[in-house]
Structure formats: structure tokens, C-alpha cells
């Protein structure tokens, strides 16, 4: 748990102050030092353009984190709203939302994100949007179940009996009681989003910017695997470390928030 927190703190620091941590500029292409193995000068070696892999990882962390957090926030909020409305209102609205979500859920998340990013073109924002759409159903489902469970409890009946408006019941009484599972889900979802965004970049649908994100770096390095293993290996390890750390924290959060544990 401690090491997971440390890793995350470090990656967040990288994302915010890359120029303090990275030894070089990510735009430096030292063509006389291409494909150099890890050494004191190049901690994690250099890539096919002579860029320092460690520097690229440090600068690429921002894009990975932004995608991970951004898509979870958008997807989580949209999903929560759907779930809240569907669960509270019930009847036709519930049927409508849930069938819609069934349809979306029947398409694999990665495929959906792929289709959306192809349709909207490349760019960091489209990737975030594409992943958001792909993760909405999960949040909506969980939220709805939670809302239905809370809705039948006595304090809601009480609130209704004294004439509290629907909107207030939803926001003041139901929502706060449904938040903890959502929070846990969103934390673990960050890892999933980073993985999808890496996969999209890997497939060449991410943005081709001068500072590559981790997934793109991984896919670029893959073809050099036989002669320069470090280009693909370290971005892969970075993705793994970040995802595992985020998931560990998610687990911890769930344990803390679980009412049966307290």
C-alpha cells in the first residue's frame, strides 16, 4: 500500500513537473546516440530517434494520467446520472436507460472506444471521450442498483411523507448514500482507462504528438524488441506499475469504505 502510494505520488509529480525530474528534453533527438542500451547517461536507454526513454516516460505520464482520470470522471458522472435517474424514476425511464445500456454493454469496451475514436478522429480529447462512453454502462448499472436499494429504505419514505420534492430526495438523500461504491469503482476504473488508452495508442489511434504517450511508445518500441528491448519494456512496466498501484489503492479504499468492516 505504501509503495503503491509512493509510485502514484512519483508519477503524479512526473506529470506536473516533468522538467524537474527528466534529465533531458523529450524533443532532443540525438541522432548519434540512437538505440543505446540503459547506461548512466541514459537511465533507460534511448529510442530509434536517440531520445532518452526515461525522459519520454516522465513527459508521457501526463497524457496517461489525464486520460485515465479524465475518462473516469466523465464516464463516471454520466453513468451515475443515468443510474440515478433510472433507479429513482423507475418505470419507462428505467427500461429505456437499461436497454440502451444493455446494447452498449454488448459491444466490447475496447471495440467501442476504437469505433468512436475512428469516427471522431485522433486527438487527446477524443480518446478521453471514447473511453468515457465505453465505461458509462458499468457505472450506470452499479448506481442504479444502489439507488433502488436505498430508495426502499424508511428514511426515504419519511422524506417523501413530509413532501420533500423529488429532486431534493435524489440529491440530498439518495446520492450521498450511493457514493462509496462509485468512488471505489472509479478508482479502480482509472487503471482500466489507462490500459484502454494505451491500447488505442498502441493500435495507432491515439494522437501522434511530439511527446508520445506510453501506449504509443510501447507500440513503437515493439518492432525494435529484438535489438533494443528497453524501448518497449520500460513503457510496459510503467503502465503495469501505474495500473497495479491505482488498483491497490482502490482495494484499500473499498476496505475502508465498506460498512461491514467498520
Amino acid at each position: 500500500m505504501l509503495s503503491a502510494s509512493l509510485i502514484i505520488v512519483f508519477i503524479v509529480a512526473c506529470a506536473i513537473f516533468p522538467e524537474w525530474i527528466a534529465p533531458y528534453s523529450p524533443l532532443d533527438m540525438n541522432v548519434n546516440h540512437i538505440l543505446q542500451p540503459p547506461s548512466a547517461a541514459y537511465l533507460l536507454g534511448t529510442d530509434q530517434f536517440g531520445r532518452d526513454v526515461f525522459t519520454l516516460l516522465v513527459y508521457g505520464s501526463r497524457q496517461s494520467l489525464l486520460t485515465g482520470i479524465g475518462s473516469v470522471l466523465i464516464g463516471g458522472l454520466a453513468g451515475a446520472l443515468c443510474g440515478l435517474l433510472a433507479g429513482y424514476h423507475g418505470r419507462w425511464l428505467d427500461t429505456f436507460f437499461m436497454r440502451l445500456i444493455d446494447v452498449v454493454m454488448s459491444i466490447p469496451g475496447i471495440l467501442l472506444a476504437l469505433a468512436i475514436s475512428v469516427a471522431l478522429g485522433s486527438g487527446p480529447l477524443t480518446i478521453i471521450l471514447a473511453i468515457s462512453v465505453a465505461v458509462i454502462p458499468g457505472y450506470a448499472r452499479v448506481m442504479r442498483g444502489q439507488v433502488i436499494a436505498v430508495k426502499s429504505r424508511q428514511f426515504i419514505d419519511a422524506a417523501r411523507a413530509i413532501g420533500t420534492p423529488n429532486r431534493e430526495i435524489m440529491l440530498r438523500h439518495i446520492l450521498p448514500n450511493c457514493l462509496s461504491p462509485m468512488l471505489v469503482m472509479m478508482t479502480t476504473g482509472i487503471g482500466f482507462s489507462i490500459l484502454i488508452s494505451s491500447a488505442l495508442s498502441f493500435l495507432g489511434l491515439g494522437e501522434i504528438s511530439e511527446i508520445p504517450d506510453w501506449g504509443y511508445l510501447l507500440s513503437q518500441g515493439r518492432s525494435y524488441m529484438t535489438i533494443a528491448w528497453w524501448i518497449a519494456t520500460f513503457p510496459g512496466l510503467a503502465i503495469t506499475c501505474l495500473v497495479v498501484s491505482v488498483n491497490l489503492i482502490g482495494d484499500e479504499l473499498r476496505n475502508r469504505l465498506d460498512p461491514r468492516n467498520s
Binding site: F49, G121, G204, I208, E210, T226, I227
Partner: protein
């Protein structure tokens, strides 16, 4: 000129070394400047065996009809199923194949071919003058863009003079005809099969070639079987009679690391388009050999949209070019395995003008001065500005780093930025890419085109989407291209293409980047795999040592 590191000392016999050295001196008389391994023991070829060949690019729509596709990967398979009337030799002369002899009329508008009499299609029907006429009329009627139709120019009609003599007539003299005729896009298909299969002929290719298509699995595998009756190879083939190999199984493996992996593991005996980082290791590996051929054509080049600001300014385009150090870019990205390109035409192509090789050098400082003089001054973030506009150019692309072109552009981006020029690279899906190409909404894109005649410049420079935008719009250039297309005198024609290359260069319509080497790595057991002048592999003479 650049040293070619791909010369592996261990594997090359002396004679081939001399050949390659000849090419390095710019005296590129040979298209296939291959690092081919000459087996010294010269053991008699062995008959039989299956060759598994990993092909790097998917066969577009599984079309195996030479008249309906211009994609090189399709051609690589088609070349072995279909024969041509004549064959082009490395010195750009022609030799008999399905035609025994031919004559060109004084006015250059008609060609008379005397055909071989013993040729049969895979379906048993006979090859004759009727069949040739049928083929040309079919190409004319199909009007398939980007393929055989582009190769027949002003073709008018064919006349059957007797069973084995055919006259082919053109409206105007068409200089590239013989060159095009030797290419597989003008390969001869079976008229009976075309009538039998109709639209399904594209998946039921019937020709006269040394191999026939036995079966295929869409998108992944194409099984070629030896044609046991074959006895009409081109004049430059090493042997007569049927091919040695029993079967050639072409497997599409697009992922380059996988393609290299299956060759190393022995799942296939040969693989094509080897990535530069593996070329070196295959050359050094004593179990493998590496062959190279130069597919003739229009070199991969950064094409500039000179109709749109800011690139409508010639001085700016020149500065863009002089800012670049292409020697370093090509050497870095291709690890010394690719030659740097100087002209739009590939070096072994007829009409290549070697005088362009020293025409410009990289000089970022001079380019910076020129940009300053033009009023493009560096802003606070290092990017130049003029009248409040940033010096930004956008490149559009859909190839997903094919031949490492995006890696090249990444270095271009880096070098340009150091001179205050911003390059944006936009990767699009094919549909969106075509749409923007059509309306001229781009500054740069990257193109190349295969073709064994310099007329390929006409095809490469003209908009390849009908009714679409022409980023150059140079009437003088169009004029020259038309002249080159109809000039029959060899020397005059050479001069015209020299002018064309200079005109493209002087106006910076495009910046040629590299000469693509078609590479095939194979196990040492595979012998005598050869290439035609287009750089397409020929399985006919190939055999496997057991």
C-alpha cells in the same frame, strides 16, 4: 554516395560485390542490385517442396486480377500466375516471353506481335491472338483506375492478323508501352475464364503462368500450385519447363516483428519487407540470406501543396528543404539500409538524372537567413511568425508508419522546429484522408508509386482521385509529362524526363526522401529466388535444398 551497409561481407560472392559496387558509383544499369547469394557448389536444382512465403502487406480485397488492381502486394502474387508478352531486362531492353518477336510501326502508333504457339492457360484453353485482343479490350472496358487501364495510354484497338499474330493500335504514340507491357498489370488472363467467372474472376485467376492459384483463405493465405505444363518462361529465366517448387504458400503477416519471428522459427522459409533493424541481423546470420531489389518508380517523397498558403511561396519551400538534413534522417531511421533519394525517380529507372545528386545540401543557417528575409521572424516560443500568422504546416497521413514514414516525419518535425517551422502530423482514416486530399485541405502528404517507366511521374503527380484537387497546377510540367508520354526517340525522351525531374526539384513540388529497397530474407535452403525489373519476386527459378 552513401555507403551501403547492407553489403554483408560474409554472404556475398565476389561477382555480386562488383555488381553492387557498380551501382554505388551511380552507374545503375541493374535494377536488381541484389545481395543475392550465389551458391558456389552449383548443385543441380531439386524439384519439389513447399515454400512458405510471408508477405508483409494484405492483398487488397483478395483481388488477384492484374487488370483490376495496382497494389504492389497483389502484384507480387499475380506476377507468378500471369505471364506477359515480353520481359524487360535490367538494361531497359526487351526480350521475348509469350511473344516471340515484335515490330513497331514507323509512326509509333502500332505494334505487331508474333506469339508463341505452344502456350496454354491453366484451364486448358489455348493462348492466341484472339486472347491478346480480348485482354486489351477488357482492360479498356474495365477502366479500373490505378491499374492496367493507366498502363495502356491511348490504346485504340487490336487486330487479329492470323491465329498467332496480333496488331495493337494506339491513337497517339505511347512511349511507355513496351515497358508497361512487360509488367504484370498487362499480364494475359484467360478469356474463357473471364467469361465463365465474370465478376468472380478476381478470386479465380486463370493465366498462363508457372503457378496457379490452388486455394486461398481471404486475407490470410494464398496457395500457389505448380503448373505442370509450363514451358514458356521469359527469355531471361534460368531454366525451362515447369517450376521446381511444388507449392508456394503465401501467408500474409503484416506485423513486422511477427514476420521476422516466424522466419527465425522456421515456420516460413522466406519473408519480405524486412524492417531495417532486422536487415542487419539477417545479413550477419549464417543461416539466412538477404536479397534486395529496387522496385522502380516514383520515390517516397514529401509532396507539398503549392496552391495553399504558406507553401505557395517558392522561397519558403526552398528554405523548408534546406533546413533538412535528409542524409542524417535516412541514415538514422533506416539504420543505413536505405539509400537517400535525390530525384523523384528511383535511380535504376530509365531517364534518372544523376546530376540532381549534388544539387542541394543541408544548410539550416542559410535557410534561417532566407526565412528572416521573407519576414518570418521567430516568436516567443521559437516558432516563426509573419503578420500574426504562425509558420505551421500540416501533414496528413493514413498509412500508420508504413515504411517508417512517420518516423521520418518525426525527425523532419524536429529539424524544422529548430529552424522555427512547426509541423503538425494528422493521422486520419482512409476516407477522411481522401476527402481532404480531394479538396486540397492539406500542406503536406507523403506518396510513392511503383512503375517501371518514368511515365510513372505522370501517374504519381496527377491527382489519383478523379475530379480532385491538383496541388501543383503547373501547365509546363503537364506539357512535359505529355511529351515524355509520347516521345519515341530514346535520347529525346531521356532529356524530357531530365527536364521534368529538374522542374519538380527547382519548384520544390516535392522533397524525395528515400529509395525503398524491396527486401526478402530467407533460409539458406532457398536458392535462386529472383526478381523482375519491378522488384517483384519470381518463384519460377526458385528451389529448396533438402
Amino acid at each position: 554516395m552513401m555507403t551501403k551497409k547492407w553489403i554483408s561481407l560474409m554472404t556475398i560472392s565476389l561477382s555480386v560485390l562488383l555488381l553492387v559496387a557498380g551501382c554505388q558509383n551511380g552507374n545503375s544499369s541493374s535494377a536488381v542490385n541484389s545481395a543475392e547469394v550465389q551458391h558456389k557448389d552449383d548443385a543441380a536444382p531439386m524439384v519439389g517442396g513447399e515454400l512458405n512465403f510471408a508477405l508483409s502487406i494484405s492483398i487488397v480485397n483478395d483481388i488477384l486480377d492484374p487488370h483490376q488492381t495496382g497494389s504492389p502486394q497483389n502484384s507480387r502474387v499475380q506476377r507468378n500466375i500471369f505471364d506477359s508478352l515480353i520481359v524487360e531486362l535490367p538494361d531497359h531492353t526487351f526480350a521475348p516471353w509469350l511473344a516471340e518477336s515484335w515490330e513497331v510501326a514507323e509512326d509509333g502508333k502500332s505494334y505487331t506481335f508474333k506469339l508463341r504457339k505452344d502456350v496454354k492457360f491453366h484451364d486448358g484453353t489455348s493462348f492466341n491472338a484472339e486472347a491478346v485482343k480480348f485482354n486489351f479490350d477488357r482492360i479498356l472496358n474495365l477502366k479500373a483506375p490505378g491499374a492496367a487501364f493507366d498502363n495502356i495510354g491511348s490504346y485504340e484497338s487490336s487486330e487479329v492478323l492470323d491465329e498467332f499474330t496480333v496488331e495493337i493500335n494506339f491513337k497517339t504514340p505511347f512511349a511507355p508501352f513496351l515497358g508497361n507491357l512487360s509488367g504484370e498489370n498487362l499480364g494475359i488472363v484467360s478469356p474463357a475464364a473471364v467469361e465463365k467467372y465474370g465478376d468472380a474472376f478476381i478470386h479465380n485467376p486463370i493465366g498462363t503462368g508457372p503457378f496457379k492459384l490452388a486455394s486461398f483463405t481471404a486475407g490470410t493465405e494464398y496457395v500457389l500450385e505448380r503448373n505442370p505444363d509450363y514451358n514458356w518462361p521469359p527469355a531471361n529465366a534460368k531454366h525451362k519447363g515447369p517450376a521446381y517448387l511444388e507449392k508456394v504458400i503465401v501467408k500474409v503477416i503484416t506485423e513486422e516483428a511477427t514476420r521476422v519471428g516466424v522466419l527465425q522459427s522456421g515456420d516460413v522459409q522466406a519473408a519480405d519487407i524486412i524492417p531495417p533493424q532486422n536487415i542487419l541481423s539477417f545479413q550477419q546470420d549464417k543461416n539466412f540470406q538477404l536479397q534486395e531489389a529496387e522496385p522502380l518508380g516514383f520515390n517516397a517523397a514529401i509532396a507539398l501543396n503549392v496552391q495553399k498558403a504558406p507553401l505557395n511561396d517558392l522561397k519558403l519551400r526552398e528554405a523548408l528543404r534546406t533546413s533538412l538534413d535528409l542524409d542524417t534522417i535516412v541514415k538514422t531511421i533506416y539504420l543505413g539500409t536505405h539509400q537517400r533519394a535525390y530525384s523523384s525517380l528511383s535511380p535504376s529507372l530509365f531517364g534518372y538524372d544523376a546530376s540532381l545528386e549534388s544539387k542541394w545540401t543541408s544548410d539550416p543557417a542559410a535557410a534561417a537567413d532566407q526565412l528572416d528575409a521573407l519576414g518570418w521572424v521567430k516568436g516567443s516560443d521559437g516558432i516563426r511568425e509573419k503578420g500574426g500568422k504562425r509558420l505551421t504546416v500540416e501533414m496528413i497521413d493514413f498509412y500508420a508508419n508504413r515504411e517508417k514514414r512517420m518516423d521520418v516525419m518525426a525527425l523532419v518535425q524536429n529539424q524544422w522546429r529548430q529552424n522555427g517551422i512547426e509541423l503538425k502530423i494528422t493521422s486520419l482514416a482512409l476516407g477522411a484522408y481522401m476527402e481532404r486530399l480531394k479538396i486540397g485541405d492539406f500542406d503536406l502528404n507523403m506518396n510513392s508509386k511503383y512503375g517501371a517507366d518514368p511515365d510513372v511521374a505522370r501517374l504519381a503527380l496527377n491527382p489519383w482521385v478523379p475530379n480532385s484537387f491538383d496541388p501543383i497546377q503547373d501547365d509546363e510540367l503537364q506539357n512535359l509529362l505529355r511529351q515524355g508520354n509520347s516521345e519515341l526517340d530514346v535520347e529525346n525522351r531521356k532529356a524530357i524526363y531530365s527536364q521534368i525531374q529538374h522542374r519538380i526539384f527547382d519548384n520544390v513540388y516535392s522533397i524525395p526522401v528515400y529509395v525503398f529497397p524491396y527486401t526478402v530474407a530467407s533460409t539458406k535452403a532457398l536458392k535462386d529466388l529472383s526478381f523482375d525489373i519491378h522488384g517483384f519476386p519470381l518463384f519460377y527459378d526458385a528451389w529448396l535444398q533438402k
